[in-house]
């Protein structure tokens, strides 16, 4: 696979982080710390997928929680009601999110105005959350779903049975890591290849790119669908890991705020930014646990501070050194 823009080398930081993550369970045995690592990885997938539309395609959306929630609910409901294995329903969750991405991407891509895109995507997420909350027969409404099945156990050569019981966090850890690695590979492939070049050209000068035969709608749509697919998979993993979903926790605005904070702290428009950002924010906020409910205020403050003083996030520090 030929990669332009410096190829894989340019994303060495991402590969290094993923490589390091492989060894974490050898040293970390505390279940709570592992839980934080798993959440960070799921959030890294989610923030990374948002970054694909926002940082690379330059379309600023504020309804990404809809894709996360749709993936989570679709996979959970299918596993619970149809009795299918979560290994299968997970992909279904991703596809439902991708279809939703296509459905909302088509009207959104017709609009250039940042304000309109922001409001329409936000409105879409509000619609999804309201629909899920208002269909109690189907989704159990605002009470949410409980008892979502765990992943089925399987046998790996040399390792033995991998099961997903209450104490098997290491198994979940590696599942999250594998999906994170796959999503990062997809992202790197997209942004380094032809699509990434086209997206950057469109982001920086849409008319010019259009006149040179780059079809803006097609490439933006690719980014939109890929991004919502990854968000849906992250949501499905989240559902089968926590076994509980509520409309508020899976589709609420707070998810979008978390994505924003993580991406902005890490660095928007870079592959490593959302990855580092989600770990920094998840673990950093754990350090601030004493603050209790002031956590959200810290989020608000971080948003203002980063957007004002370091609009390119922590990744800026690295490029500034060069």
């Amino acid at each position: 696979m030929a990669l332009r823009n410096g190829g894989w080398r340019r994303h060495g930081g991402v590969i290094a982080v993923l490589g390091l993550l492989c060894f974490v369970p050898l040293f970390v045995h505390n279940p709570y710390l592992l839980h934080l690592f798993i959440l960070s990885m799921l959030y890294a997938m989610l923030a990374g997928s948002w970054n694909l539309i926002n940082g690379y395609a330059g379309i600023f959306t504020f309804g990404h929680q809809a894709f996360f929630g749709l993936g989570a609910y679709a996979s959970a409901l299918l596993a619970m009601d149809a009795g299918l294995s979560p290994w299968i329903t997970l992909w279904f969750g991703g596809c439902v999110a991708a279809l939703a991405g296509l459905a909302i991407g088509l009207p959104v891509l017709r609009i250039r105005s940042v304000a309109h895109v922001a409001i329409v995507t936000l409105a879409f997420a509000v619609i999804v959350q309201a629909v899920v909350s208002n269909l109690p027969d189907f989704t159990r409404g605002t009470l949410g779903l409980a008892g979502i099945p765990a992943f089925a156990a399987f046998v790996l050569p040399w390792i033995g049975i991998v099961s997903f019981g209450a104490g098997d966090q290491v198994a979940y850890y590696y599942v999250a890591l594998v999906f994170l690695a796959l999503s990062m590979a997809l992202t790197i492939w997209l942004v380094s290849g032809r699509t990434g070049l086209a997206l950057k050209a469109i982001r920086d000068a849409e008319e010019a790119a259009d006149s040179l035969g780059v079809d803006p709608t097609r490439y933006k749509l690719i980014a939109f669908v890929a991004s919502s697919f990854v968000a849906g998979i992250a949501g499905a993993c989240y559902a089968h890991y926590l076994h509980i979903l509520t409309p508020d926790s899976a589709i609420g605005v707070s998810i979008m705020i978390t994505i924003l904070v993580m991406t902005l702290v890490g660095g928007i428009g870079t592959t490593i930014g959302p990855l580092v950002g989600s770990f920094v924010v998840t673990f950093g906020l754990e350090g601030l646990r004493g603050l209790g409910d002031y956590r959200l205020m810290v989020y608000g403050l971080l948003l203002i501070l980063f957007v004002t003083f370091a609009p390119r996030g922590l990744a800026q520090l690295r490029s500034a050194r060069r």
């Binding site: 309109h116 936000l122 509000v126 309201a130 924003l260 902005l264 403050l301 948003l303 203002i304 609009p311």
Partner: protein, 292 residues
């Protein structure tokens, strides 16, 4: 009986819609001059609600004076927020995105501050005026008539200000072409600050009037914010008249909708309508198509 019910609902819709119009004209004013969305607009609304609650319900200050206090205080807060958080973003690239983030951050901080200081409980504010008016068998609380009167008066004042004062002229000039306005000696940065304060004051006025009807709590700003967005998009972003017509229209449609479906679905319908409108007419129902 049915016609009376319908009429009563339409009147109620116009009353609430006139407040949506005030709230949304603040949003559209900011968009028109600064080309940005203000996600903290709902929090200005919420803070004004609390100010009226404390002045009127707790300290027993006269309602008119309470409203003035709330409006002035929130105007000052708006000026402070613009100066500290937004001002330096406006001269940078992608400010349309960064200002959304910054106002969202402001909104989170203000909302949680209110939550910590005053708790999540609903605080009731008594009506400013008691009693009911009885016309053709329709009973309307004087409070609602007061709301309608205040909103009509403030819309007229605002219109006069924009059309017939030097400051209003400068504001419109900045909205039309900020570079040209600057060439003609308009200090556009001060205009931005003033517009932001004025917009916050409009949200505050709407909150002061609605507080007795809706009660006050830290999350009360979210719903008007989302509805305000719907109104300004439907009316065409930046169009003052569009915001007013859109606001009243949404108010009437909502209160009639309550007769036919449950309130939970009304938001879904409003937002779906919004997405459809944007698909077909991105520049809104009353806005002018903008080719960039």
């Amino acid at each position: 009986m049915l016609t009376q019910l319908l009429l009563a609902q339409i009147v109620n819709g116009i009353v609430v819609g006139s407040m949506y119009a005030l709230f949304a004209s603040g949003l559209t004013l900011i968009w028109g001059t600064m080309k940005m969305l203000n996600f903290a607009h709902g929090e200005f609304f919420m803070l004004a609600g609390y100010l009226v609650y404390f002045c009127y319900a707790v300290l027993d200050i006269n309602p008119a004076l309470s409203t003035v206090i709330a409006v002035v205080a929130v105007f000052v807060l708006g000026v402070v927020v613009e100066r500290t958080v937004i001002h330096h973003l406006l001269s940078r690239p992608v400010w349309q995105f960064t200002t959304i983030i910054a106002t969202l951050g402001t909104s989170i901080i203000l909302q949680n501050l209110a939550l910590h200081v005053w708790g999540p409980e609903f605080q009731n504010v008594p009506y400013f005026v008691e009693g009911m008016l009885n016309v053709f068998g329709i009973r309307i609380a004087y409070q609602r008539l007061l709301i309608l009167g205040v909103s009509c008066a403030s819309i007229v004042v605002l219109w006069f200000f924009l059309k017939h004062t030097r400051l209003g002229l400068a504001l419109r000039a900045t909205a039309q072409d900020s570079d040209a306005a600057q060439l003609y000696g308009v200090n556009i940065l001060s205009i931005y600050t003033f517009t932001f304060g004025l917009s916050a004051a409009l949200a505050a006025l709407a909150a002061a009037m609605l507080a007795p009807i809706t009660a006050v709590n830290p999350y009360m700003g979210l719903s008007p914010l989302l509805k305000g967005f719907v109104v300004v998009i439907l009316g065409g972003l930046g169009s003052f008249g569009g915001a007013i017509v859109g606001g009243v229209l949404l108010g009437v449609v909502e209160s009639l909708g309550v007769l036919f479906s449950s309130t939970e679905w009304s938001d879904v319908i409003a937002f779906t309508f919004l997405v459809l409108v944007i698909w077909v007419r991105p520049w809104g129902l009353f806005g002018v198509e903008e080719r960039s």
